[in-house]
């Protein structure tokens, strides 16, 4: 009498455990599965999709958003947000371009360093206001979005800068071991960021600050320093994206990068990083970046209207957040 219900319960338990772990697997890697499905569908629907030329194209096209999304992952992991990256990208691209344009160009290295420095300064400005003055990141970076765009227009007088030196253009057009330089930059950035977040003390602290700021403070972590640092880093990566974009389009345009912050945030969110901070990581952000890039590329290849593209991207974002929610419900 007693043993029967126990056995039944055991079986039921085992079954629901299997189902549960399948669900967990899906919640955890759903977005990777989605990427796989997209690749599969595109290779069936388009003959040209799975060609090395096209895949190189995709990587080159996502590299700008990829670099931005890597930086955005750090920011969002601390529970923050940076809306100013499109403007910083435009300003730094403009600064870099101005140094290598015209008849007497400076060294491209100098131009890149100058752009990166400007980016760090811009990011640091946001960081100071967010970490020490304790204004909300949304508001500070919204202000920076406008102010930095204005600085870009002042600096450029509203005109594009072209005729860039070929050394500088190498960044956007050259190849390294057969791989486009912009892709190499994105790959190196993502790899470095992944190592930092997953394997260093700094990375752990970023997660801690985003996971619970008060607990992080109690644990002796310099919370303000960490917050400041992620915005400075975001500025640096925006500048890297800025010079790469400028080199790719062979001109610095004052209206470059408008609304780029939204694609970067979308990639991070699709990759399952929680907007409240503390959860997420670089590998899935890269998956998010690839999904957005593949959708753009695939729908172009298939000749589908860009209107649908936007609808699909929107649905992906909402789906990603739903998966994220399901995962947390499961954990609780």
């Amino acid at each position: 009498m007693m043993s029967t219900p126990t056995k039944q319960m055991g079986r039921a338990g085992a079954r629901s455990r299997t189902l549960g772990s399948l669900g967990q697997l899906f919640a955890r890697y759903g977005i990777v599965i989605a990427l796989g499905l997209i690749v599969l569908a595109l290779s069936v629907l388009s003959d040209n999709f799975l060609t090395s030329g096209n895949l190189t194209n995709v990587l080159r096209q996502v590299s700008i958003n990829g670099i931005l999304a890597v930086g955005m992952t750090f920011v969002i992991l601390t529970g923050g947000i940076d809306l100013s990256i499109g403007s910083v990208l435009a300003l730094t691209g403009m600064v870099g371009a101005s140094l290598v344009a015209g008849s007497k160009p400076h060294s491209p290295i100098l131009a890149i360093l100058a752009a990166l420095a400007v980016g760090v300064v811009a990011g640091a400005c946001s960081g100071i206001f967010i970490a020490w003055v304790r204004l909300p990141a949304f508001v500070v970076t919204l202000g920076m979005l406008s102010a930095v765009r204005g600085l870009t227009l002042i600096y450029s007088q509203g005109m594009p800068i072209s005729n860039l030196s070929s050394g500088f253009k190498f960044l956007g057009q050259g190849t390294f071991l057969g791989i486009p330089v912009s892709v190499v930059l994105f790959g190196a950035t993502a790899l470095a960021a992944w190592v930092v977040l997953a394997y260093t003390v700094y990375g752990r602290r970023v997660y801690a600050v985003g996971g619970n700021m008060r607990s992080a403070h109690t644990c002796g972590i310099n919370v303000r320093g960490i917050i400041f640092s992620v915005y400075a880093l975001m500025g640096l990566l925006s500048a890297l994206a800025g010079v790469t974009l400028t080199a790719r389009t062979t001109a610095a345009l004052p209206q470059a990068g408008v609304a780029y912050e939204l694609d970067a945030i979308a990639a991070v969110v699709i990759g399952g990083t929680s907007l409240t901070g503390g959860i997420g990581g670089i590998p899935l952000t890269v998956v998010g970046v690839l999904i957005i890039g593949l959708l753009n590329n695939g729908l172009d290849l298939l000749g589908i209207s860009s209107y649908y593209q936007q609808v699909i991207k929107g649905l992906m974002i909402v789906a990603a957040v739903l998966i994220d929610k399901a995962r947390h419900a499961d954990a609780a």
Partner: protein
């Protein structure tokens, strides 16, 4: 046999009955046989350690979660609540461990949240609401002003407001989950008066508390859960404290009241004239090697505030700190850790743990610099340290990488102790270290503190429980209104004296 039993039990004053409640999460069975029979006009203690399934059971009663199987009767008819709203409508109200007031609304607005007095159908009638709230609070003898914002209240006062709210909803069943865990003895007395009023009005109360002495003074009946299942039910007057503890912990833990060793003489830390405006003033105390010092006082006496500034979370206005004969400056928790002072804060979820992160990352966080080379973490070393801590504190986990969120309160608290120990502290400050955790974990933590002190370290322990102070401390310092009013070895005081000093 089952049928017969059912008929007997569905007698006249049976208010709520549940049996065979089962629930599993992600394949793990959390509750396999939840039962209770609650009669009108009684206080029914629901006892059990953490992980016994109490919370799951209460969530199901409240309609927060759906059971996998089992039946619930309310006033004789079978029901199942799809949501907390429907449970509330049927007359079941709950006061939970996690209070969720709206901080920027007034007390009156919180009490009538969702049931506002209206004027012309659309506009909130503040005057009527405030008057009704004032009457209610006065009737219950709760000293809370209905016009102030919730943000201004102490934890204890917030608790009273929540209770007033539940009472005003005229519920026939009231579930109180650890109602006294955040309030002092004086407020507890006020609460018990309210409970007695409710009892005489015919309300049935399910009362969950880890403070066993409370149960004996307020409850009429008890039901014990252990490991997700029903163990025994009966009348409070038929059972004694030791028997109840035995039922809760399953007899696995032998009574080991750990008397701390006699302190040695060396002074580890000396606090001189610590003050912080509006919170505490002119605090002087010393911690000696091998000593556990209790910090006792009512809610709002400035105990936690003092401990926070000692650890560097908040700044002091005045005062000196002397360690090993030399003056030291502690302005941040980072400084405190450098001087080998660790702290376990009062609210483990808000200012201690990283709930979504793994047990491993929670434990190793403060000692990462010693577990890394050139800022890269040596994971092998980290895992070894974490494993040692998990074993040292008997933390129940599936894997080291399980999120802390999934652990019971006792195990979460042990994670905090494990973390603080990784930095090899000489002084440990703990604020209400055993609040809201089960009897087993409580004993383990007390045993740990005694052992820690015996190794030549010192502990400063804040507690609102007189019994805890008397049982585990060598010396007690009493705070009242931000001032230090008494200091005495515990051997020379009685609970009555302690209460007298504090109030």
């Amino acid at each position: 046999m089952n049928v017969a039993r059912h008929e007997v039990m569905s007698g006249s004053d049976l208010l709520l009955k549940a049996e065979g409640i089962q629930k599993s999460y992600g394949g793990v069975l959390a509750l396999h046989d939840g039962r209770i029979e609650l009669c009108a006009g009684t206080v029914h203690a629901l006892c059990g350690g953490n992980g016994a399934g109490k919370s799951t059971f209460l969530n199901i009663l409240m309609g927060l979660e759906a059971p996998d199987s089992g039946r619930i009767w309310l006033n004789g008819s079978e029901t199942r609540f799809a949501s907390p709203a429907s449970a509330l409508a049927a007359g079941i109200a709950i006061i939970t461990q996690e209070l969720s007031p709206v901080p920027d609304m007034t007390v009156a607005e919180n009490i009538f949240l969702g049931r506002e007095s209206r004027r012309a159908g659309w506009f909130v009638n503040q005057t009527v609401m405030r008057r009704k709230a004032a009457e209610l609070l006065e009737r219950l003898n709760f000293a809370v002003d209905p016009r102030v914002k919730m943000r201004r209240l102490s934890l204890g006062q917030i608790q009273l407001v929540e209770i007033a709210k539940a009472i005003d909803q005229r519920s026939s069943v009231l579930i109180m989950d650890e109602p006294t865990s955040a309030i002092g003895d004086k407020e507890t007395a006020v609460l018990f008066d309210a409970i007695r009023q409710l009892k005489s009005a015919g309300v049935g109360i399910i009362y969950v508390s880890h403070r066993l002495s409370e149960l004996f003074s307020i409850a009429d009946e008890y039901t014990v859960f252990r490991d997700g299942g029903f163990v025994r039910t009966g009348l409070m007057k038929d059972i004694d404290r030791d028997e109840l503890i035995r039922l809760i912990v399953g007899g696995s833990l032998i009574d080991q009241q750990c008397a701390a060793t006699e302190p040695e003489k060396a002074t580890l830390l000396e606090v001189q004239g610590y003050s912080r405006a509006g919170e505490f003033e002119d605090i002087n105390l010393s911690l000696k090697s091998g000593e556990i010092v209790g910090l006792y006082g009512l809610m709002g006496a400035g105990r936690s505030e003092f401990a926070s500034s000692l650890y560097g979370i908040s700044r002091r206005n005045r005062g000196r700190l002397v360690m090993d004969g030399a003056e030291v400056e502690i302005n941040s928790p980072g400084d405190a850790l450098k001087f080998r002072i660790a702290m376990i804060t009062e609210d483990r979820k808000a200012s201690g743990l990283f709930l979504s992160q793994s047990v491993r990352k929670n434990i190793s966080l403060t000692s990462l610099s010693s577990l890394s080379r050139r800022s890269f973490i040596n994971e092998r070393k980290e895992k070894a340290v974490v494993q040692r801590m998990i074993e040292r504190f008997h933390i129940k986990v599936r894997t080291r990488d399980q999120p802390v969120r999934q652990l019971s309160g006792g195990n979460q608290q042990k994670v905090l102790f494990a973390r603080s120990l990784t930095t090899s502290p000489r002084i440990l400050i703990c604020d209400e270290p055993t609040r809201g955790i089960d009897e087993g974990a409580k004993r383990e933590i007390h045993a740990f503190l005694a052992e820690f002190a015996a190794q030549g370290n010192a502990v400063l322990m804040i507690s609102s429980e007189v019994q805890e102070i008397l049982a585990s401390c060598n010396r007690v310092v009493v705070f009242r209104h931000g001032r230090q009013v008494a200091e005495s070895p515990v051997t020379r005081i009685t609970p009555e004296r302690l209460l007298h000093w504090a109030s």
